[in-house]
Amino acid sequence: MAETVLFARPRSLEPLDTHYCPGCTHGVVHRLVAELLDELELRERTVGIAPVGCAVLAYNYFATDFQEASHGRAPAVATGVKRARPDLFVVAYQGDGDLASIGLGEIVHCANRGEKVSVVFVNNATYGMTGGQMAPTTLPGQATTTCVEGRDAALAGYPIRMAELLSTLKTPAFIARAAAHTPLHAAHAKAMLRRAFRYQAEGRCFSLVELLSICPTNWGMPPHGAARWLEEHMLPYYPIGVFKTPDGQDRAPLPLDARSVPGRTVA
């Protein structure tokens, strides 16, 4: 009987070896994004925005037009592209430092203005490209090259949960968090990315999917051990789920109850 090839390289990925470390989740995420660009027939009108980080060379790997942004400014560059050409499908691909540190202002305002772009946020709790420094997403007690004794929340604060933070904005958006360190999680991540891309393809709203990822090299663990570490430490702090949909409820505070305010007499 003739054999069918079930899996082929997505057309949206160039036939190149990547520079990513063995086991790096970027490889999986690149493939998920490329498979979706093929499936949703977006490849020919996609403009990707590459970050400064391990994925700085993303423009080599995807078979689409690309723009390299300065560090943290991918959401602003994406805004420029989408406002100039609303017909293009704009995907910004960012890491911890790019999105949650230097680029924190840009991502919040891009989401708040409701720019109809999609952001793929790879969260591996460290700065990979520059050799493993503390990130805004590094967990308390996690050792990095700039906090060798482990992150001290008293000095550096707690890690930022970007999906939750962005979900408090009133402007409609699709905000989700998934993980891609095991194949079953990656299948779920693909479903989240598919929803995100569909929202942009329909011209609906801003979308962002945060993808918990491993960094075996800078965590100092082999890939399988790193996947276990992610499960034990990152999943409890960064819950998987959908935090905001464009049809969802506004997270306005509840009205004050006069009786609960000390010193006030009941009207």
Partner: protein, 364 residues
């Protein structure tokens, strides 16, 4: 379009719209906020897009993205905001993107003041951002010239695939003057189809990648050499300089640009009445700087007086041009104080007296 009494900032905005600019990204800062306000009203009228960005950092990166798709995009700011944009300007130059950046200069450094200054000359012409790059820098001296140069800025920017800075100051931004818009004027440089732009890859051209990263040093050196060749071409073909009062022989050459030049032009009349023969050389392109023109003009004179609203920045380029052949004097104001025509006249008369004393000293 008939002559219109219009504020400098608004003339800049209108000229941009008439030049086909459909995208403006900016942030409020005195004294150029009127450009934002004008564009926010005007762009929707022509099907354009106005975005008030969260900061100048964001605005400068937004024009990067928009320019990368091949559309005419611009931003405007004033000195402290322009400082924030310097990284993006370096990226624009490195990625060879066309864009127009308007700097309505104010007094600095730091938060400084909101009145006019010219102390961003170094930032505009010598870099400001990192790396071996230049913006083409145009310096108008009136609202009319600002409108004319805005049109040229977009044409030059597209032609050279390089950012162009239009360097005004707060006086030109805020002044209200009659301006005639020449929308039908032919472009100063032809435009070519932007096959390099990221418009979606359908396989009919190489993939468009807007990028300034070259990890291989040989490739990066080649890229830098190509950029330098571009700047050399600008120096050969785009130098602009204006002359006032050079029909008759003159002994004092005044060099100034922008609002300072306007004040000096007024002073020429007073100087003539005092018997001091002076002329004004007014660089319009600050990069490429009119070195040859300034040298030629200086050689017709006995001394040079540079007038700037700063501690003296363009004076260094004047020194380079003159190469020590003539003494160079300086008059400057800072902090937002303006040079007045009588200040220029007084200083020029003082220089003329020094020249006379030197001649008499030689005789005696």
């Amino acid at each position: 379009m008939a002559r219109k009494l219009i504020k400098g900032c608004e003339a800049i905005g209108e000229a941009a719209v008439q030049a086909g600019c459909k995208l403006f990204f900016g942030y409020p800062i005195t004294p150029q906020t009127e450009i934002l306000e004008y564009m926010s009203r005007r762009l929707p009228q022509v099907g354009g897009t106005f975005v008030q960005a969260e900061s100048e950092v964001a605005a400068s990166n937004m024009i990067y993205g928009a320019a990368g798709t091949g559309e005419r995009a611009m931003t405007a700011s004033s000195s402290p905001g322009i400082s924030l944009m310097m990284e993006a300007v370096s990226y624009l130059a490195g990625a060879e993107l066309p864009a127009v950046i308007v700097n309505v200069m104010r007094a600095g450094p730091g938060l400084g003041g909101i009145l006019p200054g010219q102390a961003d000359y170094y930032q505009a012409t010598k870099g400001g951002g990192h790396g071996d790059y230049h913006c083409l820098v145009l310096a108008p001296w009136s609202a009319q010239e600002a409108a004319d140069l805005m049109r040229d800025a977009f044409d030059l920017s597209d032609f050279y695939r390089n950012p162009v800075m239009v360097l005004c100051d707060g006086l030109i931004g805020q002044i209200m003057e009659p301006v005639e818009f020449h929308a039908d004027r032919p472009p100063c440089q032809p435009s070519a189809p932007k096959t390099w732009a990221t418009t979606g890859w359908r396989g009919d051209r190489p993939r468009a990648i807007i990028n300034s990263l070259y990890l291989d040093p040989e490739a990066l050196e080649k890229h830098n050499q190509a950029l330098q060749a571009k700047y050399d071409a600008m120096a050969r073909n785009e130098v602009r300089c204006a002359e006032v009062g050079m029909e008759a022989p003159y002994e004092l050459l005044i060099v100034a640009y922008g609002s300072a030049a306007r004040v000096c032009a007024t002073a020429l009349g007073a100087l003539k009445a005092q018997g001091v023969a002076a002329a004004l050389c007014r660089p319009i392109t600050l990069f490429p700087f009119p070195y040859a023109e300034v040298r030629r003009a200086a050689e017709q004179a006995k001394a040079v007086l540079v007038v700037e609203l700063s501690a003296g920045q363009m004076i260094e380029d004047v020194r380079l041009a003159v190469e020590g052949r003539r003494p160079i004097h300086f008059l400057g104001r800072q902090g937002g104080m303006l040079v007045m025509p009588q200040d220029v006249a007084e200083k020029a008369a003082g220089v003329a007296r020094l020249l006379l004393e030197a001649v008499e000293g030689n005789r005696g």
